[in-house]
């Protein structure tokens, strides 16, 4: 009985898992078969995946007791309602937040040395808040069975909230799915969907970007008119030039009045 309580209180990643295996094996020797199976199952999960094991600490206490004498089991079952339901329905959710190094923050100002320490994991809209260990693991303790929502708050990254179903019927089972894209997760490893860039990036000064802008085009056109037109005029045949000028004179200078609808009638 003592060892199963011990199980419940540590989720410190791999180092403790090894210890847990040892405890688990001693348990097999001490206790009956059913209990040993459950204990080692829990241990294996947290060893192999380390992430998605949902364990039921207090149920193991009762399981241990049940294993000792069937009589006690009966007693327990009959007295179950009198047990505080909070402790009977308490589960732990363990998971991991992984920020790939590929998504390096590069030159951005918020890439602080201990940035993992600024990540928060929130359950059900801030009802429970937990933090990450150096290896990215987190755990929520004493969570009732049901459907929960886990959100990760990390400056610079966009995380999808995760729907987590904690099953009351088969403890140790967890179902997780990203709510943004409805992708199921086989283990509770949360990765950012994308990086978030909070600032506009100043475009470096370049001639092309100037020329491409509407202003640049206008200026370009005006320059072309100012410098190329005289050249064109120069190249024209003087005879033709004179003819054109006379033509223009005969038509008259386009005045404002001719542009107005009324003026056109004159």
């Amino acid at each position: 009985m003592a060892f199963s309580c011990k199980n419940s209180s540590k989720f410190n990643g791999f180092s403790s898992c090894i210890k847990m295996v040892m405890v688990g094996t001693s348990a097999i020797m001490m206790q009956q078969r059913t209990l040993a199976m459950e204990a080692s199952l829990c241990v294996k999960k947290s060893k192999k995946k380390g992430a998605d094991s949902v364990t039921r600490p207090n149920s193991q206490i009762s399981a241990a007791m049940a294993a000792v004498t069937p009589l006690l089991l009966l007693l327990l079952l009959s007295s179950a309602p009198s047990f505080s339901s909070g402790s009977r329905n308490a589960y732990n959710i363990n998971g991991r937040v992984k920020i790939p190094q590929g998504l390096g923050l590069g030159t951005k100002g918020y890439a602080l040395p201990g940035r993992m320490s600024n990540v928060k994991v929130l359950l059900n809209g801030g009802q429970n808040i937990t933090f990450l260990r150096p290896d990215g693991y987190f755990s929520f303790h004493n969570i009732p069975a049901g459907t929960h929502l886990i959100e990760v708050s990390a400056i610079g990254y966009f995380f999808s909230p995760v729907r987590v179903d904690v099953s009351a019927r088969n403890p140790g089972k967890v179902q997780a799915a990203l709510t943004e894209n409805r992708k199921g997760l086989s283990e509770l490893v949360l990765e950012p969907l994308r990086e978030e860039q909070y600032y506009e990036i100043r475009e470096p000064f370049s001639i092309m970007s100037l020329l491409k802008s509407p202003m640049g085009l206008m200026v370009g056109f005006m320059l072309a008119v100012a410098f190329l037109m005289p050249k064109l005029v120069e190249n024209m045949d003087p005879e033709e030039m004179r003819r054109a000028q006379e033509e223009m004179r005969s038509q008259g200078v386009p005045s404002l009045s001719s542009l107005l609808p009324g003026g056109a009638r004159n």
Partner: protein
């Protein structure tokens, strides 16, 4: 030359290009951010090692933080969950901060330099109990260990990885463990407590393995009153439940012996009920009575001696071991405007290690807590520094008779915020004095230009940044043209009023309110809200504006109210009133008297209305509008919404002409078995609506239903009012109502099946946006309801307008039966919400954006166009031109539109928007534990030049153009001359 000038013109325009959001170098230009930690509950110093000296603090706002001991700056800080109350903190191994929280069930270790969590352990136990954390130097299985008592179980936990080394249950039902003691240098632990309140129990436990070595218990005739004070490692002092008999109990080697001495034997006068003050000084304990604090020394076997009796507020620190076997503690006493800090050795009351007198600002109130730390001076004597927590929650470090630094941590718990205008600039004061001379001004602008062209060297950039941030313009104490400079007046939970300058966030004045001060008649004063009492613009310009602070004496709604009037320029409390009635609601009326004092109606718990200010003039003004005053009340617990109007003068036995009886006009009773009110929202009173009509595609017009009496109510199934995931979608629903608060008419009702709260809602113009949780999709959703007035819809017929057969000029009244139509649409939204607000501009012309406080404590701006019920998957060409965005199932989150950019407003509570005088701009103030202020232009600053605008460029361009004109003129003249000569 011409080319040059063109290029200049061109640069000039390119600098006008609108910016979508913020560039990184613009941080701090418009915005400021302040970080706080709240009222410190416990502090531990870390000064042993060379390097940076720190203090680790836990606060009442569930924060753990480490501060720089030199400057008071925050090194790191973590905000724990709302239910994760910190029970104890300590430093272990010189590198880990250990915190015990959540009623002793979570033990965490944080890395001291950077705040990274190292390990976390969950501790369970058989029952609830007091939680105690004890760091020891014990080495068990090669690990340094912590001893934690929580939930009726004693645990030894390894410091290295948080593993539980051994545990021992104390399952005895009535046992209340009071202390866990480890006598220095020993390897056993005493667990001391009471069983059945009258039995004293000690357990001696082997610290190596948790084995019970000895258990003793003694029954006493009296019952104990909770707290015990540790006098030595084997003696405790306790009081009986009547508070009149002192017990000293020693349990040396497990043998319990006790002495009982009536308190009255020690004191000449009868002290009344005494309580023990928690302290850990060897040989001395303190009791506090109504009148005095008494320090008592234990001499030998149960002999007591009163060493000092002080009559004023005295605070004692915990004992500090300064050298081998020597302990010291600090005492802080008030004397007028000074505080006296005394450090005494524990064994000798009469000698002082340190005695300092420090002048203290009266506005900080009394000292609430003191923590001391020592250092070795160069002459090998002991120096002491003291960290004190004041009544206004501020934190100060005292050293060598002076205040080294202070932190205004009261600002971490703001209750309400209002704004006030600054004084108008006086004619005599010249602006030019502040400005630089022309050359420097131009030089600055040339630098800026270089910056925009990305030609600046790093030194230049630094100079530009310095220049921008130091701009004297933004922190002046006068009103500006654009209305950016204002005072933010904030009421904090400690009952202190702060005025912050919007330019740089500095505290202009602060005032500890007399009315919210603890006193005989008002034991638990709490501030409720702030209102603008007097805003002079036309008539009373020589008067200063003032704010009204409303509070009450106690948490229940029928506690008596208190009012204060505070001058918003100076912070002087010029009037303070204790009311004879309670305050349930405060209604600022839209009427002012001749000195521009706003009339306020205070509704008490018995639904009487009291008019303020109590002047005959006010009553005259009020009489004429008597019939037009309506209000409503929402009773969340019973699900009743009621509307009221005024009836007659109060009929009570006291003739009070400022008191009015109310009559109930209508009530809406929601079925309590199926609906529970969780949120209500109304329009802001000062919101301006520019146009009543909305032009839609194909030249059609829709009339907005704009009523300031609109109330949004959201209810959920009572089962679903708990946390997310506690109900199935089938048994939860969310019902929203739009109610007219004058007539009680339900304008719209809508049910969202399979949804639940929490609901955050904002109501503005003719629309409401609310956020809730959809259990079926298991995602958050945001919905919009827009409400339109159908009765005016037929006015678009031109012929009717010509003939005059239209109702556009008919008065808008709540009593006219409006035919309304509503449009609604829902979208998914990724994050949980903490707060929601809408931008507010002075005339309401600028398009609106929603300001969303996300669960990550950031503020996101979201264009209202994304929440337009007319969005469709394939909008027509006409609709596209109108600006309708094609429908998507979820709302986009654009990282650039976080107005808090890469900052967090930790513990975000609310977002306040204030209109600037410039139509395009809203001032946004977000507060929680942190404060954040910025200017925000929802449609960009279309009506003014941006900060980036380079006047130098403009000037150079003009000069260049003029020069070019001259040059070309001369050239053309010369050419003409040559032509003539030819």
């Amino acid at each position: 030359m011409a080319i040059m000038s063109f290029i200049f013109v061109f640069f000039f325009f390119s600098s006008l290009q609108p910016i979508l959001s913020l560039y990184e170098d613009q941080v701090g230009l418009m915005d400021w951010h302040q970080q706080y930690i709240g009222k410190v509950k416990q502090a531990v110093f870390h000064t042993h090692k060379t390097g940076r000296k720190r203090v680790v603090a836990s606060t009442e706002q569930n924060i753990i933080a480490t501060l720089d001991l030199r400057s008071g700056e925050i090194f790191w800080r973590h905000v724990l969950g709302p239910n994760d109350v910190v029970d104890g903190i300590d430093i272990a191994l010189g590198k880990y901060v250990i915190t015990l929280s959540s009623g002793g069930s979570i033990l965490r270790a944080w890395n001291l330099p950077d705040g990274q969590m190292v390990w976390e352990s969950s501790l369970h136990g058989p029952k609830h109990s007091k939680s105690l954390l004890l760091t020891t130097n014990l080495i068990i299985e090669k690990d340094n260990s912590l001893i934690v008592f929580s939930n009726g179980r004693l645990n030894a936990v390894s410091c290295i990885d948080g593993e539980v080394l051994w545990k021992k249950d104390f399952e005895e039902e009535s046992l209340e463990v009071q202390q866990v003691i480890q006598p220095p240098g020993s390897d056993f632990i005493y667990v001391v407590g009471f069983a059945a309140s009258s039995q004293f129990e000690t357990y001696k436990i082997n610290a190596k393995n948790g084995e019970l070595l000895k258990h003793e218990s003694t029954a006493f005739s009296d019952r104990f009153s909770g707290e015990v004070s540790l006098v030595s490692s084997e003696t405790v002092a306790a009081l009986d439940s009547t508070g009149s008999i002192l017990l000293t109990i020693s349990f040396h080697n497990g043998k319990i012996s006790s002495q009982q001495i009536p308190v009255s034997n020690l004191l000449e006068d009868s002290p009344g009920l005494a309580v023990i003050i928690h302290s850990s000084v060897t040989g001395i304990f303190a009791i506090k009575t109504d009148a005095a604090t008494i320090f008592i020394r234990v001499i030998g076997e149960g002999k007591l001696e009163v060493v000092e009796k002080t009559n004023h507020e005295t605070v004692v620190s915990d004992a500090l071991t300064i050298s081998e076997g020597q302990q010291a503690f600090a005492l802080v006493q008030h004397a007028g405007s000074n505080i006296h800090l005394t450090v005494k050795p524990a064994h000798d009351w009469d000698s002082n290690l340190l005695k300092e007198s420090i002048k203290m600002d009266q506005q900080r109130g009394f000292v609430h807590k003191v923590f001391i730390n020592n250092y070795i001076r160069t002459d090998r004597s002991h120096g002491f520094r003291a960290l004190i927590v004041m009544e206004d929650h501020s934190l100060l470090l005292l050293q060598q008779g002076a205040i080294v630094w202070s932190r205004e941590d009261g600002l971490a718990s703001i209750i309400d915020v209002t704004t006030s205008e600054l004084p108008v600039e006086k004619a005599g004061v010249s602006v030019a004095k502040v400005e630089l001379n022309l050359f420097e001004w131009l030089k600055g602008h040339v630098l800026k230009l270089k910056g925009t062209l990305m030609l600046a060297t790093p030194e230049d950039i630094a100079a530009i940044q310095y220049m921008r941030l130091k701009s004297s313009e933004k922190s002046k104490m006068t009103r500006d043209h654009n209305g950016f400079r204002k005072l933010l007046i904030a009421l904090t939970r400690a009952g202190k009023l702060f005025a912050l300058h919007t330019g740089d966030g500095r505290i202009v004045w602060s005032h500890l309110l007399q009315s919210l001060h603890k006193s005989e008649s008002c034991r638990q004063p709490i501030g409720l809200n702030l209102h603008q009492w007097q805003v002079p613009h036309h008539h009373a310009l020589d008067e200063n504006p003032s704010v009204l602070v409303v509070g009450r004496c106690g948490p229940s709604s029928d506690a008596l109210g208190v009012l204060s009037l505070v001058d918003s320029y100076t912070g002087k409390e010029f009037s303070s009133l204790r009311l004879v009635h309670s305050v349930a609601q405060v209604i600022p009326l839209p009427y002012t008297d001749s000195t521009e004092q706003r009339l306020h109606l205070l509704i008490d718990a018995d639904k009487h209305a009291h008019l303020y200010p109590k002047t005959p003039e006010a009553i005259d003004i009020f009489q004429s509008e008597f019939a037009n005053v309506y209000w409503y009340s929402v009773d969340d617990d019973n699900g009743i919404i009621k509307g009221y109007a005024l009836k007659t003068k109060c009929s009570g036995n006291v003739a009070d002409e400022f008191c009015f009886d109310s009559r109930e006009l209508w009530s809406i009773v929601l079925p309590s078995e199926s609906e529970k009110i969780i949120t209500t929202a109304t329009r802001k009173l000062n919101e301006a609506v520019h146009t009543q009509a909305k032009l839609i595609a194909d030249q059609d017009v829709m009339y907005k239903y704009i009523s300031s009496n609109l109330l949004f109510v959201a209810t959920v199934a009572p089962k679903a009012s708990g946390e997310i995931g506690s109900v199935t979608p089938e048994e939860s629903w969310l019902v929203v109502y739009l109610i007219d608060t004058v007539t009680g008419r339900v304008l719209h009702r809508m049910t969202h099946h399979g949804s639940q709260g929490p609901v955050q809602a904002v109501l503005s113009e003719n629309w409401v946006v609310y956020h809730y949780f959809n259990l079926r999709a298991h995602r958050y959703e945001m919905s919009v309801i827009e409400i339109y007035d159908q009765s005016r819809a037929d006015n678009k017929d031109v012929w009717k307008l010509v003939v005059g057969n239209h109702n556009l000029t008919s008065p808008v009244s709540s009593y006219s039966r409006a035919e309304v139509i509503t449009k609604s649409q829902s979208y998914f939204f990724t994050h949980s919400l903490k707060a929601i607000a809408v931008t507010l501009t002075v005339k309401g012309i600028t398009s609106k954006q929603l300001l969303i406080g996300t669960i990550g404590d950031q503020v996101l701006a979201l264009d209202k166009r994304f929440l337009d019920p007319r969005r469709s998957v394939n909008p027509t060409q006409a609709e596209r031109e109108e600006g309708i965005i094609p429908l998507t199932d979820s709302l986009p989150i654009i990282p650039q539109s976080y107005i808090t950019h890469s900052l967090r407003v930790e513990g975000l509570q609310s977002i306040i928007t204030v209109a600037a005088k410039l139509e395009s701009t809203t001032l946004v103030f977000a507060h929680g534990l942190d404060l954040f202020f910025t200017h925000y232009a929802p449609s960009r600053t279309y009506d003014s030049l941006t900060e980036d605008f380079s006047y130098a460029l403009l000037l150079i361009t003009i000069v260049a153009l003029v020069a070019a004109i001259f040059v070309t003129w001369i050239l053309s003249q010369r050419k003409e001359l040559q032509d003539r000569w030819r």
